[in-house]
Symmetry: C2
Subunit: 197 residues, 2 copies
């Protein structure tokens, strides 16, 4: 099991967005859509053992959290537009503090980053992807069922960093160049695949 | 310098497609759009030293080749839709066997896979990404200015494989799971970054 957690710092928490403008008017929902793709897709297959949590912190109704469960997922295609439609469907559901199922494998709730982090990571080892951390090649060896926190196109806030640090997160980096969030997930997935984690 | 070459076996060679349906009616142009993203984008930056060649072999007007030159590129955004608009603009240009510039860094010509392979790879080391090849970790060490051939969602045809083999391509693989084309590019980019290539 591998679980990814990403705060969408400015990403819309409402369903009133156009599928024709996913990067301009959504607070960069497009970054998270590509991260969904990276977290789950294999060539001719699907990562049943993956989970992804997104925390949408933009207007008009923050915080909203989305949970994607690989083992239950259906109707997910790799393109941004159809994935955005699934996200919009989820954001149309009324929800409170408990998860509400939207489409198969996709859940929505009113939860903030601290709540999602506690729930998603639990007592599992927490990995925090940072440019100045030790190399993931080596640092991830022997870690079982990791939960991995990444920023979206913005770094984690000091408050989010404190939360992550309070859970004894292990910082890791993935190479000499700073990459987009979805590319980071792809590289981490490859490393975990190689380690058989 | 790193150069990626991808044949789009069924991808439309014409501009008559809708930006609202990039995966259904285009012969999976979406796979190539994500590959463009993977080839060029860094966090807050751009891979100036990267090139990408796409060979569009679907109807209505094959073959058409597109060339993306990192050092000249402008107006490229990471989302699929805006990248598709740039591809459509290129496919609207009339062209023959010589490259015609469309938007900055993007060129179009009537070239088939053999022509593109000869031009793109030249005398440089040719890498062919295959599931049964030796591990890229190790196999890529010491290689300078590689040209890298990948399939789209379909494997290379026997004819394309023969062409690649005739150029003494080195087969490499990237891990135990078979990945989408764009994910393969991300992993290869990370490996080349680490090697300083």
């Amino acid at each position: 099991m591998r679980t990814y957690i990403i705060p969408g710092h400015r990403v819309t928490s409402g369903a009133d967005f156009s599928l024709n403008d996913l990067s301009g008017s959504t607070g960069r929902l497009d970054v998270l859509l590509r991260s969904i793709n990276a977290a789950f897709f294999l060539s001719n297959g699907f990562r049943q053992d993956a989970e992804l949590y997104l925390v949408l912190l933009g207007q008009p109704d923050p915080p909203k959290a989305l949970k994607f469960v690989g083992a239950e997922m259906r109707y997910l295609n790799p393109d941004e537009r159809s994935t955005a439609a699934l996200v919009r469907t989820a954001l149309l559901r009324k929800c409170g503090g408990e998860w509400v199922n939207s489409t198969p494998g996709i859940y929505v709730a009113r939860k903030d980053f601290a709540q999602v982090l506690s729930e998603a990571a639990g007592d599992r080892p927490l990995i925090y992807l940072r440019e100045n951390g030790p190399d993931a090649r080596g640092a991830l060896a022997g870690i079982k069922d990791p939960a991995i926190v990444l920023g979206d196109q913005l770094d984690l806030t000091p408050e989010e960093e404190s939360l992550v640090a309070s859970k004894n997160a292990v910082k890791v980096s993935i190479g000499p160049r700073s990459l987009h969030t979805d590319h980071c997930i792809t590289v981490i997935n490859n490393e975990l695949d190689r380690l058989g984690i």
